[in-house]
């Protein structure tokens, strides 16, 4: 097995970690000079430490995007070569819309069959669905899928009635029973879609490198209609590949696994990734929730390479259409990532795997830390200045540093796109410039709301409380102001309370709070407004995506099949199918 990470990768990590550490430390010192001079109070030191800590992760994330923008991009070339290994495409489902999921599988299967790869790629739908109504729809949709070409003996469906271990347990159940029949498994989500060429390319890369245990693609969000959904989709299509490319360079052979749109070597996965149930009670004990990061770490521990392939196109997923759905998903991920605290000292993990777990934890702890910085700064305003000597740092310097950290990577990606012609895939450079500006403005407006919601999620998890989100209609993108208010009234209250407090206690500091507080007071309206739109109006102006200008064949095929299945109606359920673990041979 190749030693984990080449010398070059290790040096790059050291250089960038040092750079991020130095930049955040410098920011912390400048901030300390600004607020306390040479006579800082205890509160000043706490504030400077908070800025240093949160700043480090901000700079670290920005550096990945920045180096990604300067790495030459590999171009995915389609090949007629057939993989050697046999692959099963696993689609774990859990109460999702079966017609949509199964029509995507039909589209992938048609491509696989057309390319003469039917003998090498099987599909297995692994249902953990708990709703009997959805389970019935799944059985019906499977009847439809089973009529597809060469489905017999290649497309399977089974439903577990007891969902032990959730998604990780679902996949483990398949591997333990049938994993020996295949060399590789492509793990998809219910909303995933992949070109047959991409499936083949992934299997070929596994064939070519017998030490490769897992290869992760960078899925692009498709099908978004709302302003919020399209902003996320544009970000995933235009910016994420560069951040992933930078990340891939830093991660070396200890890359990420995001739980879907990836291929695994089944024997390696089976040998290394049997997840234990952690001792103690949730949120830290019990089943491992965010299993993907842990599985990647376990494969690396077992000596297998875990790689990421930002150059592989043709990998898609769908995303949340509004901020409430996004926050719900984020809360699940938050709990999973915080649980990783238990695993930081797991025996035998590679140092980089531990760092990756820590990075995941900090991605969520950063929000309460930023909020704590705001709160301590508000309180600091009511104490008199101790009159220390200053070097002369201004608040603008700190603000400019934060803005530069956030904007420079995006600017570098934008400039690269202008010069290498990449922007043409998104319409034109003009459209891309508008889209990036819109993305920056919108994400700035939404940031305080997301920060508050993430903080609440962290606090709830630490206290072992449940969130109690207001229900939103399934598959509905638009959120009414009423629903948005029910989800965010406490943010509005908090923002008005802070503005009121600071207006009375230290009005001179109020202008520094307003850029955060004003968007927070408008939370219900921004949530509702960004959930609107079906994409048609804005398509020609902002957030235009290659999947709209030139949809790939599998996207078109899946839409055709979905339309056809919806038009021709569903097959009637002629016998009891509920509760049936059902496989089609």
């Amino acid at each position: 097995m190749t030693p984990s990470g080449t010398t070059g990768v290790v040096w790059l990590r050291i250089v960038l970690l040092t750079l991020a550490g130095a930049a955040s430390l410098a920011a912390g010192l400048v901030f300390l000079d600004l607020i306390g001079g040479n006579r800082p109070s205890g509160l000043d030191i706490v504030r400077a430490l908070l800025l240093t800590l949160t700043g480090f992760w901000l700079v670290w994330g920005g550096l990945a995007g920045l180096i990604g923008a300067f790495i030459p991009g590999g171009r995915f070339r389609r090949t007629l070569q057939r993989p050697q290994g046999k692959t099963v495409v696993l689609i774990p489902v859990y109460n999702e819309n079966p017609i949509e999921t199964f029509s995507r599988i039909a589209a992938m299967n048609r491509q696989v069959v057309d390319k003469g790869l039917a003998d090498l790629f099987h599909f297995a739908i692994l249902s953990d669905t708990t709703s009997l109504e959805v389970a019935t729809q799944e059985a019906v949709a499977f009847e439809r899928l089973a009529q597809e070409r060469e489905a017999a003996g290649r497309i399977f469906y089974r439903r577990r009635e007891i969902n032990t271990g959730k998604k990780a347990g679902n996949i483990e159940d398949f591997v333990a029973r049938s994993g020996g029949a295949y060399d590789y498994a492509v793990i998809l989500d219910a909303d995933s879609l992949m070109e047959a060429d991409t499936l083949a390319a992934m299997a070929l890369r596994m064939d070519a490198d017998p030490e490769l245990g897992l290869l992760q693609t960078v899925p692009v969000v498709i099908g978004a209609g709302s302003v919020f959904g399209r902003m996320m989709a544009f970000s995933s299509a235009y910016l994420s590949p560069y951040f992933a490319r930078g990340g891939a360079l830093l991660q070396g052979n200890e890359g990420p696994y995001w739980g879907h749109n990836a291929i695994i070597r089944l024997r390696a996965f089976a040998a290394c990734c049997g997840l234990p149930v952690l001792s103690g009670r949730p949120p830290y004990g019990g089943h491992i929730l965010s299993h993907d990061y842990v599985e990647a770490a376990l494969l690396a521990r077992g000596g297998w390479k875990v790689g990421v392939a930002p150059d592989l196109g043709g990998s898609y997923e769908e995303g949340p259409e509004n901020l409430i759905e996004y926050a719900k998903r984020d809360r699940r991920w938050c709990q999973g990532n915080l649980q990783h605290r238990r695993l930081l000292n797991a025996p035998g993990l590679k140092a980089w795997s531990r760092f990756t777990l820590l990075q995941g934890i900090m991605a969520y702890l950063a929000s309460p830390l930023w909020l704590l910085l705001v709160i301590t700064s508000v309180f600091a305003g009511i104490f008199p200045d101790r009159g220390g000597d200053r070097w002369g740092a201004t608040p603008w310097l700190i603000g400019a540093g934060v803005i530069a950290t956030l904007l420079i990577p995006k600017l570098a990606i934008l400039l690269r796109g202008i010069f290498d012609g990449h922007n043409r895939r998104f319409g034109s450079s003009g459209q891309v410039v508008l889209s990036v500006i819109a993305e920056v403005v919108l994400s700035t407006i939404l940031a305080p709301v997301l920060l508050a919601m993430q903080t609440r999620a962290v606090v709830q998890i630490l206290l072992g409380l449940d969130g109690g989100w207001p229900a939103t209609a399934r598959d509905a993108a638009a959120v009414s102001v009423r629903t948005a208010f029910a989800a965010s009234w406490w943010i509005v209250l908090l923002a008005f309370g802070t503005i009121g407090f600071l207006s009375l206690a230290a009005p001179a500091y109020l202008p520094w709070l307003l850029p955060v507080a004003i968007p927070a007071t408008l939370a219900p309206f921004t949530i509702a407004l960004t959930s609107l739109g079906d994409g048609r109006i804005a398509r020609n102006w902002v957030f235009t995506m290659p999947s709209e200008i030139a949809p790939s064949p599998v996207i078109l095929e899946s839409r055709r099949i979905l339309d056809s299945w919806r038009t021709t109606g569903q097959i009637a359920v002629t016998e009891p199918l509920l509760g049936v673990t059902h496989a089609r041979a």
Binding site: A124, E143, G153, F156, R158, E172, F174, V175, A176, R177, S178, G179, G180, A181, Y182, L266, R267, A270, A271, C272, C273, G274, L275, P276, L278, S279, I288, V294, L298, R342, L343, N345, A346, P347, T574, E575, V580, T581, H582, A583, R584, A585
Partner: protein, 49 residues
Amino acid sequence: MKRETFEHFQGLPDAPLAMPKQSLERQSVLFDFFRSVFLPWPREKRLRG
């Protein structure tokens, strides 16, 4: 159309692959030491008071 009756994993290959449970928790010697010094009684008993 032929309909299958209930049978677990009908049609799926019967090819088991062992997935041994991995060890992820490390006993902390320091923690155990402090626990044995300061909490020599079982937690349940302590709670019952």
